[in-house]
Amino acid sequence: MERILRLKWYEWIGWLVNIVMAAMAAIFVTLSFLGEELRAALMGLGIAATFIAAWTWVLLFYGKPREAGLNHKPQD
């Protein structure tokens, strides 16, 4: 049970946090735009985008071990 859908258990937690963060940011920015509070919406968008991008980079690339069969041809 170490991996489900090619993700390890702690990666699942990380992605879940990322999705929640993105959903909250989307709600905040949309409601701010609808409320004609453009400055708050843009600042919120900028801050949220920075956090989400950084967290996504950690989840996708940081310290991830190279997996055999994906990065190079298997040896005969």
Binding site: Y10, V17, G35, R39, W55, V58, G63
Partner: protein, 366 residues
């Protein structure tokens, strides 16, 4: 289990970041460190002013002549004058009240249909009456109208700022209109009632609104409501009509928020709002506004509009009444940590910017 040190570091960062996120929201959502009650706090004997005239005279405004007309006049459908008096005889046929709760709901619905945005009912505390008035009503109904948010944002345009200031002044009269109609209806039901607004008031408005559970008093001495912040104007109706009161059981975090926020202090052009903690003034625990400085700045004479809704505009509780800010108000009511975070985020999002306080010179000055 992770095999390399880099992979171990990856696990620590992902788990640490996720836990920090969960802990942050946990600390924001779990209620702690709030006061038990958001009621008006008193210590010792409360000093009561004799009348509103005494209060106005103390402010030394030479143009103030005191209330003269005690009748509200509005135009009917055929342009006829319809007069609603401040005091009138009570209907001799008394309506029987069996269910106080439904009676209270009926009164609140009536107030809302007359234009009130928030309504609260409390028992009238004799401390909040002016000392020289013969008022013995048991209940007080507080009705509040909220200024539109667009009027309470910073107006960089002079004309818009002037319209906002004029509208703010007119709102006192609008609240009075609701109170007069409400009192008139209650008298028709066979119970004594009186409207209290502007200089015609025999009770102190803000403490009554706190007792009615509508909000808490902020550092800027305005009543701050969770729904509309400081931009409400209130009028009171006192009556003997049997009503169920609204119970104020716990603090909504507004006073505690003011303890860590000094935005109105730094923005006030008259330097009338005190920094630091609340003090006991005439028996009441509150932040005591320097009324002389406040009123003299606000009233610029007949030659200028003061643009002074600054403490309202700058207040972090002054937000549009939408879901987003309802969530913000909810979070600010949870704990000292959540209030600190909300205040910082509010500033980062650009709400705490400096407000223009230059008076607007009237072109058509008398």
């Amino acid at each position: 289990m992770p095999e390399t040190s880099k992979e171990r570091k990856r696990v620590i960062i992902i788990l640490g970041g996720s836990l920090a996120f969960i802990a942050l929201w946990g600390l924001m959502l779990i209620p702690w460190g709030n006061k038990e009650s958001g009621a008006y706090l008193t210590q010792g004997e409360v000093y009561q002013a004799g009348s509103p005239d005494q209060v106005f005279n103390a402010l030394m405004v030479p143009e103030y002549t005191g209330p003269t007309d005690k009748t509200f006049v509005y135009k009917g459908i055929c342009n006829e004058d319809i007069r609603v008096p401040l005091e009138a005889p009570v209907n001799q046929v008394k309506r029987v009240i069996n269910d106080r709760r439904s009676q209270s709901e009926e009164i609140k619905t009536l107030a809302r249909s007359l234009g009130a945005d928030i309504v609260g009912i409390c028992e009238l505390n004799p401390k909040w009456k002016f000392s020289g008035v013969p008022l013995n009503h048991k209940y007080a109904i507080a009705v509040g109208e909220a200024l539109p948010y667009s009027f309470c944002r910073e107006q960089k345009d002079d004309v818009k700022a002037m319209i906002s200031t004029k509208s703010a002044l007119d709102f006192y009269r609008q609240g009075g209109k609701i109170a007069l109609f409400l009192a008139d209806t209650i008298r028709e039901m066979g119970y004594p009632a009186r409207a209290h607004y502007e200089s015609w008031s025999q009770v102190l408005t803000v403490p009554v609104t706190v007792d009615a559970g509508l909000g808490e008093v902020g550092r800027n001495s305005l009543l701050i409501t969770p729904e509309y912040g400081p931009r409400c104007r209130f009028a009171i109706v006192t009556t003997d009509l049997p009503l169920e009161t609204d119970k104020k059981t716990k603090s909504s975090g507004i006073t505690e928020f003011c303890e860590i926020c000094d935005r109105c202090v730094t923005t006030c052009p008259a330097k009338a709002i005190p920094a630091g903690g609340p003090t006991v003034t005439r028996g009441v625990v509150k932040w005591q506004l320097d009324l002389d400085k406040c009123f003299k700045y606000w009233y610029q004479g007949s030659n200028a509009w003061s643009r002074c809704m600054v403490c309202m505009t700058a207040c972090p509780w002054n937000k549009a009444d939408n879901v987003l800010h309802k969530v913000g108000s909810f979070l600010a009511s949870r704990s000292p940590f959540s209030r600190w975070v909300i205040l910082k985020v509010d500033g980062i999002l650009g709400y705490g910017e400096k407000v223009d306080t230059t008076p607007i010179i009237r072109t058509s000055s008398k």
